[in-house]
Symmetry: C2
Subunit: 338 residues, 2 copies
Amino acid sequence: MTRASARTTLADVARAAGVDVSTASRVLRGEATQRIREDTKTRILQSAETLRYRPNSMARALRTSTTSTLGIIVPQLDNPVFSAAIRGAESAASAEGYSLLISHRAPGQTASTITNLSQINRVDGLLVASLDDDEILRSDLKAADVPYVVLNRMLGGAPLTVVLDSRAAALRATDHLIGLGHRRIAHLSGRAGGFNAGERLSGYKDALRAAGIDWDDRLVRAAGYTFEGGRSAMKELLPSAPTAVMAATLVSAAGAMSVLHDSGLTIPDDVSVIGLHDAAVAEMLYPALSTVAMPTEEMGRVAADLLIRLLRGENPDNVAALPPGELVLRASTAPPTV
Amino acid sequence: MTRASARTTLADVARAAGVDVSTASRVLRGEATQRIREDTKTRILQSAETLRYRPNSMARALRTSTTSTLGIIVPQLDNPVFSAAIRGAESAASAEGYSLLISHRAPGQTASTITNLSQINRVDGLLVASLDDDEILRSDLKAADVPYVVLNRMLGGAPLTVVLDSRAAALRATDHLIGLGHRRIAHLSGRAGGFNAGERLSGYKDALRAAGIDWDDRLVRAAGYTFEGGRSAMKELLPSAPTAVMAATLVSAAGAMSVLHDSGLTIPDDVSVIGLHDAAVAEMLYPALSTVAMPTEEMGRVAADLLIRLLRGENPDNVAALPPGELVLRASTAPPTV
DNA sequence: TTGAAAGCGATACCAG
DNA sequence: CTGGTATCGCTTTCAA
């Protein structure tokens, strides 16, 4: 009960060209070290062409225990940060002859996903973005025993990591608000305890300190990475009457804006709002959201490059945090109306 | 130069249990047809357990020419429609012991993606969502020679297809507007010539006709699936002074709302807006967008199920278009102010 | 109930 | 420069 249509094999090509499979294998793989007579080479190439030969990747993988594919695991797909990272990783991978397998997994399921990708689908290495706790992620990764690069967060013990400079981004966003004349600037921070959340909070503090603005902890609330989180954080912030809000993410910024609208406040006249990361949704909000762009696609590219060099046996150095992109001014920020 | 740490193989397990590999293979795979003595069975299971044996999927695939993995190709990742479909497909696949490989590709590149997935990564079958032209997609699919199910659009010649009932959804959305008292209802349609665009336009017409409202072609504009498309279509619509807009997608609805805001019109007092598909972004818009929910996750689930049954040699019937979900009322729709 | 052996389709080492 | 041939790890007849 064979379903598969008989595909052309290397043996077919060899037979057609009147050579041994080993010879055919050499030329078809472009073996650099061995020389082969020009005419037999063309003969083989020709037969391969006409027979539409496609190497069986399973056989090759079994023999070489290598698949030329990378896996990327992200916590969610419908998030511009990760989809951009995927784009970047994909382009870097394919430029080096690797293909990329995408997988997404809810928090806590990272372990099984890693196992799946590395054992069932056989990737040579993994790009991992996860929101899980350090401890958990670390042990999951160790158990999988596959080369990997961690994305978008630091992880103690992980040899290779690519992160964005969230601190600099937060500083830049806050600076913009300060430059506009704001002094009561609220901050919607990310997941409490998260790496990026901490960095962004630091950037926010840096900016305040440099401007000589006193720290007021009633102006900072954890909003997580959800619309609802942004909403409830903003509600708590309202009594402190900020004139501007620096949100750690686009989604939490959206939540904040929704609360502001509900309370009859006008953006940016009554309250300015700025978010970190730039993506299509920033333009869809009302008013269009000012942001600090982040090189998320670049992050994916760099991570994939690192991983590939690792797989090639090189010993790549860890890269510095990627600096933020431009300040994208839209309609949501303006000087405070005194 | 072996990099791979020597993994436990079936031979190791067999040796440890004092049996032949063939016997070990039988029990480990739960072979139903052959009987095996209870104690040798447990002995083998035990050794596998302690040696932490994991079958080499490449070897198995090479031998059986089957991978137990499905591939899904979507045109974009950061689109709630497709990420929901992926979620659905993944859950259906894993429930049947299949894993899912995700791939995304820009228009026009579907061919190479199909090739990659089916030849390099060896999926048993493909779930394909594409925005490409019928003709192109058809030939790409034929060339790949792999079982497939088409997602989210009809395709002449494709044996199996799963679509949403866009026509019914558009009807429901338009009906809502009509029920509110609107008579000058504009429609932002999708990609001209696209399957879903046509369906939605029909649904819109159905609703008008049923309500005895005359068709006015100045009230319909193609907006595609982008924010900018929504904007320019809405700009052209403005002179016709609609009191309500039914947008084919969330993004085009957002574009329309942005133009409405720019023109100093109030939503929903001056113009009501409703969109098809419900997703998180609907809530982030201002005012929050009323929508008709669509069973996109279900679409993925159904498609994966169909594909798996196809792979098992069954001859599944094509399913009917999936009916729309609920009308989700938010703040963007209201009776016209006369 | 179990074992022996023949491949699946490629790669790579060793001869010639 | 080219041909043999032994694997890679597993599944699957065919015998015993």
